[in-house]
Amino acid sequence: MATLSAPRIVSSRAEFADSHTLTRYLATGGYRALRKALTMFPEAVAAEVDEASLLGRGGAGFPAGRKWSMLRKSHISYLVVNGDESEPATFKDHYLVEGDPHQLVEGVIIAAYALQVTRAFIFIRGEFALGLERVQQAVNEAYDHGALGSKIFATDFSLDIVVHPGAGAYICGEETALIEALEGKRGFPRIKPPFFPAVTGLYGEPTVVNNVETMSNLPWIVENGGAAFAALGGGRSTGTRLFALAGRVKNPGVYEIEMVKNTFRDLIYDPQLGGGVIGDRAIKAIIPGGVSAPWFGPELLDLPLGQDEVAEKGSMLGSGSIVVMDDTTCVVRAAWRITKFFSRESCGQCTPCREGSGWIERVMYRLEHGGGRMEDIDLLLDLCDNIAPGLTWPPQQTTICVLGPSIPSSVHSAIQMFRDDFVAHVRHGGCPHD
């Protein structure tokens, strides 16, 4: 059974139809945390976030406090919020921008105060038409409420927030590509080093980029203290987290649960959460953290939902998305579709990614649709190895950003776990499921 005793930190207003309005937000304690933060020294606010050990919720899981401390050494110019959620089967930020935009805005103001930044940009995925409207509305209301603009709540702190729309490009979720998009350019990830926008970010100035969910945790942390947050979860994975559960489950959705205290099995089977597999069938495999992550078989279902726990088993909790594939699923088709996605979204700067994704996609296509050859299976592994040599996890980096080394995950997992299925595709001359 799942452990559901933890407070809901970022999804507490989910049941209200008007959760996106200022009225509801104020009636449920909104902007109290900001008022409290403004009475503290900025570094004391940052210290609370440090103590909370809040790991970034975008995918890489870098500690937010540490990201900030790199900036405090230099003079910070900009705060950029990454709301370009596009990792396939991840839909938690979608909920946050539409369902609780004021919580996001309050989090951004608190972060800006802690960093002493006076200009913040919230980058919202272009396809979120309603999300853009709701966040802009929340920003408008925050100005009217005195929570934004000049001399916030009659203190000496001033801040402007600009809501910026994306335009359909997965790669813009990569923070340096997002900065390029914000500068009005093609979303090409920047060459590293420098590894962090903290050194050279927006307009070449020190910049911090944080995810929407990371920001949305801040009001609660300031109000209840970093220690209260750190008391939840376990190990390095503190607090609760939004998990987006999708695929062959009875109740797909976004669930906020305590990290580490719950397992994949709890999330998928608890009647209050996933409710089990459709038709009560057996699980064939799960994707534990977005399609960039290597797959797990059903033997790992009792693994705790924690960043290090999942990493130890050779995958990642990534973006907090979990896809369930049951015994009716064609894993070749699933892996082909994921590769097709990467092939389409590769920005094209680096050869291993640009060419490799296309080659793998074409070989996977012929296996799935007829015309596959027995030697294609090892050819696929060779192609994967060319993109991420050694096929280790975390993968070797041959490209500017991590999109490239993410391509092999699904194909490599599928061949390792279900080689017989690939053989069956070759023998059958296409997909035996069709």
Binding site: S150, S158, V163, A167, G184, Y203
Partner: protein, 206 residues
């Protein structure tokens, strides 16, 4: 002579003013150009170039990187059906096939009446209501062929005009004011904060 309508031109200028550099307004301005013309016309691109102090070639080169910008005319409604992993597991490919038959156009094509353009989408982040269908990037949440057909009928009859406005992601986004934290004040605030921070750090080290 501005190609943008007077209201769009005004919104465009307001957007440019929000950024430290004009070019940063590129994506929002392209959304505005698409809101007016339904796609990125040569005239729209030229105007965005003027507003961002770039060239039409530069604007086109940037726009072509992004899936949501149409460099050629599209239907009044762009129907996107997701077939990525979560939707694949929920019949996304079948939905796309159905949509193609229903609209009478191939994926990437436009129906003969010019009303609908069909696209195969990548994950649209609404995976709990799969397969996901968007029309002009509004989630219409039709997961069965029957619901899809009814939705198309409603669109044709104009019954969904409120839920599905025409092109342009910013068509209902209005910022209530320009920047309010004045530059001079901000600069002063930064300097004071920096000094105070240094003082506190020095005290700590003592």
């Amino acid at each position: 002579m501005s190609h943008f309508r007077i209201d769009i031109r005004q919104r465009a200028e307001e957007l440019v003013a929000l950024y430290p550099r004009a070019r940063s307004a590129m994506l929002p301005l392209l959304h505005l150009a698409q809101e007016q013309d339904g796609y990125l016309s040569d005239e729209g691109i030229a105007e965005v170039a003027e507003l961002t102090a770039t060239t039409p070639a530069d604007v086109r080169g940037t726009a072509s990187f992004y899936d949501m910008f149409h460099l050629e005319p599209v239907g009044k409604y762009v129907v996107g059906v997701c077939t990525n992993i979560a939707c694949l597991l929920a019949g996304g490919e079948e939905m796309l096939e159905h949509a193609s038959a229903q609209l009478g156009c191939p994926v990437g094509g436009t129906s003969s009446d010019g009303l609908f353009t069909l696209e195969e989408s990548e994950c649209l982040a609404d995976c709990n209501i799969a397969p996901v269908v968007q029309v002009n990037h509004r989630f219409v949440r039709t997961t069965t062929p029957e619901a899809f057909d009814a939705m198309i009928e409603d669109l044709r009859a104009g019954r969904l005009d409120h839920d599905v406005p025409s092109h342009g992601m910013l068509i209902r986004v209005r910022r209530s004011s320009g920047l309010r934290a004045p530059h001079a004040e901000v600069a002063e605030q930064r300097a004071v904060a920096k000094e105070a921070r240094e003082q506190r750090t020095n005290q700590e080290t003592k």
